[in-house]
């Protein structure tokens, strides 16, 4: 059996797993496969990486077994583990069992289950560990188009505690002008990043591509979060109106889906 170049990456929420993987793939400047275990509903990290990292293939979890039977030769594989996966009870397929295990931990972290588990500890971003019982809430939004001013208001409220204590929030949203935006928040950092993903402008009806949101926090008012997001969404008529306006103002070279 051939040996595969597989890296398993685990980390607490907000420590920078996805960022670290992104850096590795950039540095090897080669083709790579990415898989996210435990993010099968919204796939935010996967959608972010596939838009931002050329040469990366995102593999759905259900195709993992098939892939391991017939792996692509010379390709690095990165498996990201959701922070809520219990490392001690994780059972991996035989082909993966002897892979490299990397934990991305905030500076100064000592004596955690990640230390026992990992072959390599990478110092990641400062992260906030104060929550006793972090809860994960996620919602798929594919097909929805949001009004950007509303989204900004909602994001401000969400990350400033209007719907419970939020430790980490990330989302990919299609907005009225056809862009797909990546929002990223880690508690303790006032600047919330907001990045245009490297995807074509979507200007023909409801986008047929991934969008969604993921929130880690405590005492989350899930109903209010869901309702507010719904109130940020545009109806078909408004979507068509904005898309027509944007089509009329496109520059040559703008890529449209």
């Amino acid at each position: 059996m051939q040996t595969l170049d597989i890296t398993l990456v685990a980390a607490p929420s907000g420590a920078g797993k996805t960022t670290w993987i992104q850096q590795q793939i950039h540095s090897i400047a080669d083709t790579a496969i990415y898989l996210s275990l435990g993010a099968d509903e919204t796939l935010i990290d996967a959608a972010y990486l596939s838009a931002e990292v050329p040469g990366l293939t995102v593999l759905p979890v259900i195709q993992l077994t098939d892939f391991l039977e017939r792996p692509t030769v010379g390709c690095s594989i990165y498996l990201e583990l959701g922070f809520h996966i219990d490392l001690t009870s994780l059972i991996l397929p035989d082909q993966i069992a002897d892979c490299r295990r990397v934990a991305v931990l905030p500076p100064g972290t000592r004596h955690t289950e990640w230390h026992d588990w990992a072959d390599l500890i990478v110092t990641g971003a400062e992260a906030n560990f104060t929550l006793q019982h972090p809860h994960l809430w996620r919602s798929a939004l594919s097909g929805q188009v949001l009004d950007l001013a509303s989204l900004n208001t909602f994001w401000y409220e969400l990350t400033n505690g209007a719907y419970g204590t939020v430790q980490r929030a990330k989302g990919i949203f299609d907005v009225a002008d056809g862009r797909s935006l990546y929002f990223d928040f880690v508690a303790g950092f006032s600047d919330t990043t907001h990045l245009k993903l490297n995807l074509p402008f979507w200007l023909n009806g409801r986008p047929d591509r991934f969008s969604g949101i993921e929130v880690v926090g405590e005492m989350l008012d899930q109903e209010a979060i869901a309702q507010t997001i719904e109130e940020c969404c545009l109806n078909d008529q408004a979507i068509a109106y904005y898309q027509q306006q944007i089509k009329n103002s496109l520059e040559p070279g703008d890529e449209v889906a």
Binding site: A149, A162, C232
Partner: protein, 270 residues
């Protein structure tokens, strides 16, 4: 003569009470109110009854108008889809609970008030929906004051208090006649001021405290007052009455809900 000017109470009875007792301590001769007695807050009837009982001269705000005329503000006066949906919820709630005599009172309110060289309006002399932001173009600002004939224009609507002095204003005009002759003329505008009273019941200056202004005509001094009050009581009432809890969250942080539109001086022609 000393006058107090209050604005944008938005159904916040606790804040109004606190401001009125603060005004009491300053021995003013008269109080003027710039409207928006209702909307967002949980006690619109109580606020109007208090203003009426004290016989405070009041001009009509945009919310007062909407409660009388039906929601007529165009969507362009909302900065976002979310703000529009929440604004409509607040409007519908207020519309349901308002007493008939309160509605009649709001309907009778004048659009502006005059007292000697002072003029009082809600948004601007042109429309109660227009925002006179502190950074609005100096020419526009000057035009708004000059159109009233007053020296000081008191307004509200933005929920952020400010005083703006328009001095050393130079206006240059060129008159072209049909015989093709041209004539340049220069005017020096006299000192004019715009005073925004902020908001009693929905402040948006980053703290929950109510704001209002006092103008002392004898010394020509304008002072801005910030009053602490038990905002938690209003927040609790917002939730208890079934208004969206996000209104309470924003009130406690000094964030007014309805952020202004992209073009604040836009006036809907509808």
């Amino acid at each position: 003569m000393k006058i107090a000017v209050i604005s944008c109470i938005h159904g916040n009875y606790e804040a109004l009470n606190a401001v009125l007792s603060d005004i009491d301590d300053h021995n003013v001769d008269k109080i003027y109110c710039l409207g928006d007695l209702v909307g967002y807050g949980p006690r619109p009837n109580a606020v109007v009854e208090m203003i009426r009982a004290l016989d405070i001269p009041t001009c009509q705000g945009c919310w007062d108008e909407d409660i009388v005329e039906g929601l007529n503000a165009c969507e362009c006066s909302y900065p976002s889809v979310l703000a529009e949906k929440r604004g409509k919820l607040a409007h519908e709630w207020t519309n349901q609970v308002i007493h008939p005599e309160v509605r009649e009172y709001l309907a009778r309110l004048p659009l502006s008030l005059r007292d000697d060289n002072l003029c009082f309006v809600h948004g601007s002399p042109h429309n109660q929906h227009e925002y006179l932001m502190p950074e609005v173009d100096a020419f526009v600002a000057m035009e708004r004051v000059l159109s009233t004939g007053a020296d000081i224009l008191f307004c509200g609507h933005t929920h952020v208090p400010y005083v703006r002095s328009l001095d050393a204003g130079q206006l240059q005009i060129r008159v072209k006649s049909t015989d093709k002759s041209e004539q340049d003329m220069n005017f020096s505008a006299p000192l004019k001021r715009i005073v925004n009273a902020g908001s009693v019941g929905e402040p948006r200056h980053g703290r929950p405290n109510a704001t209002y202004v006092i103008y002392n005509a004898d010394t020509d001094q304008i002072t801005l007052h910030e009053v602490e009050y038990d905002y938690q009581k209003t927040c609790a009432a917002i939730v208890e009455k079934g208004l969206p809890p996000i209104f309470a969250w924003r009130l406690a942080r000094g964030m007014e809900f309805a952020e202004r539109a992209d073009d604040p001086t836009h006036v809907c022609e509808r």
